[in-house]
């Protein structure tokens, strides 16, 4: 992971992709969101989604999974170059989450993250605050998911 000082508004990271199989969709839904269109193909086809659809919380959680994996890759690269590794802080939340299109069984979603704003924290001078637009696109290039996330990022010289 990078420090606050290394970040530039507009920077975009491709986070990788994930295939939502029927099995994974149902496994998540049984636990957290057992609405009929997330559990059963026939019910999904008869719903507004038009097929067995992943819970929106499953899509968001997978985006988080790929963000963390990307951060770990960046940390490993920094460590390999002999640089100090930044450990990002928690997130105070997000806004404007849009489930734009359903994620249906078999869809492969590619996720990306683009930095929208950077500011320093008055209350916590050792941290900066980054806002990023995280998004998902399906195998046909259609946007399916987007949110504006906020995270605490460590500053280089005070850490």
């Amino acid at each position: 992971m990078r420090f606050f000082e290394d970040l530039v508004v507009g920077q975009r990271r491709e986070l990788g992709s994930f295939t939502f199989t029927a099995e994974l969709i149902k496994k998540f839904a049984v636990q957290f969101d057992p609405q009929r269109f997330h559990l059963d193909e026939e019910e999904g086809r008869n719903s507004l989604f038009g097929g067995l659809a992943a819970s929106g919380w499953h899509v968001g959680s997978v985006c988080m999974k790929l963000l963390v994996a990307d951060g770990q890759r960046q940390a490993a690269e920094a460590a390999a170059r002999g640089e100090k590794v930044a450990i990002w802080g928690p997130s105070p939340g997000f806004r404007e989450l849009r489930w734009i299109r359903p994620v249906l069984a078999g869809d492969t979603i590619s996720f990306a993250s683009e930095l929208e704003s950077l500011r320093t924290s008055e209350k916590r001078p050792e941290w900066g605050i980054a806002q990023a637009r995280n998004s998902g696109t399906n195998q046909r290039g259609e946007p399916v998911f987007s949110l504006l996330a906020t995270a605490f990022v460590p500053r280089r010289n005070t850490a």
């Binding site: 998540f28 636990q31 957290f32 969101d33 057992p34 609405q35 269109f37 719903s47 507004l48 989604f49 659809a53 819970s55 929106g56 919380w57 968001g60 959680s61 997978v62 988080m64 999974k65 963390v68 770990q72 450990i87 990002w88 802080g89 928690p90 997130s91 105070p92 939340g93 997000f94 806004r95 404007e96 989450l97 849009r98 489930w99 359903p102 941290w127 949110l147 605490f152």
Partner: protein
């Protein structure tokens, strides 16, 4: 009879839970979706801003979804949700927290794009047993209208 748009009026709607969240659940979710040290490793978590092992924010959201399902969405003619207007993680979710979820309806109206359906916007607050708010959410869901009400607007 499932709940439809007509059953949701602005104001307090209900309180749901308690739902206890175990350490095992926190570790299992974090391992699959959010393997940051603050959610997986006791020692690393102590050194983090959250000062101790905490559940992933996405785990808390997913549990809130389940609490809403068990509380009312499971018996609502829900057609899904277009998104979340705002979500704030206010305090960490800790192992063995007992969560309650307070739900308020902030708006209930006929959908402009699909007048045979309604849009109900909820403001939810999840709290631990001490009453401390952990997460706040504002989210709309699309619901069916009562058959006779929907027919009148056609």
């Amino acid at each position: 009879m499932k709940l439809t748009l007509e059953d949701f009026k602005p104001g307090h709607f209900g309180s749901f839970g308690p739902r206890r969240v175990t350490r095992e659940e926190i570790l299992a979710f974090a391992a699959e979706f959010d393997p940051q040290p603050m959610h997986l490793d006791e020692e690393a978590a102590k050194r983090s801003m959250l000062k101790g092992l905490s559940g992933s924010g996405w785990h808390l959201c997913s549990i809130m979804m389940r609490m809403m399902f068990d509380g009312f969405i499971g018996r609502t003619a829900s057609l899904g949700s277009p998104g979340v207007n705002e979500l704030r993680w206010l305090a960490p979710l800790r192992p063995d927290d007992e969560l309650t979820l307070d739900i308020e309806v902030t708006e209930a109206r006929v959908s402009r794009s699909r007048p045979e359906t309604g849009v109900v916007t909820f403001h939810g607050v999840a709290r631990n047993a001490a009453g401390e708010p952990l997460c706040e959410i504002v989210t709309p869901i699309i619901v069916e209208r009562r058959v006779d009400a929907a027919a009148e607007s056609r």
